[in-house]
Assembly symmetry: C2
Homo-oligomer: 112 residues x 2
Amino acid sequence: MTESNPAFCPYYHHAIELIGRRWTGAILRELLHGTARFSELRSAVPGLSDRLLSERLKELEAEKVVQRRVIPASPVRIEYVLTPKGRDLESVVNSLSEWAEAWVKPGLARAV
Amino acid sequence: MTESNPAFCPYYHHAIELIGRRWTGAILRELLHGTARFSELRSAVPGLSDRLLSERLKELEAEKVVQRRVIPASPVRIEYVLTPKGRDLESVVNSLSEWAEAWVKPGLARAV
């Protein structure tokens, strides 16, 4: 496959399909900004439901991008934090944010 | 909304939902590597069907990320090339490729 197809990379493909899943990119950006609690994450991303947030966090946990922490307080507090693997996505999120600022923002501004 | 929600950015959200759509990330990576013809793109991305490739290219054209060029040869040749907006996604694709190489590759290698 590599001979006829030098550009295709299964690791990249896995990565883009992971972070590109609906809402995941927005959730990652919030986590990078330090948002840690379920209810904060949900309210930080307009349109995101409890069910989908929960599903996405479970996927990110399974991929070891996010760690779920139980804080032994009263009542018990649950926090979601990025692992080193997750924090390392910061450069991707920053690159895409810059691209969006340069190219998406002017287009959407023209559309309204 | 900006007060309670400093991290959420609708431009970033639009961008990640665009490039994260199923197959779009892989198609963009091929286009960045210079693959230009429909049949080449299709065979470069394993599992991608004609119908989905055509749909994704139309979406990228609508977003002005890709330009469809008709080359007046015999028979007429159609090529898909990145616009400046599209080429500017190179840093995003490169960042994510590096991340995938560092974090996804070892995990998938362990899994097989």
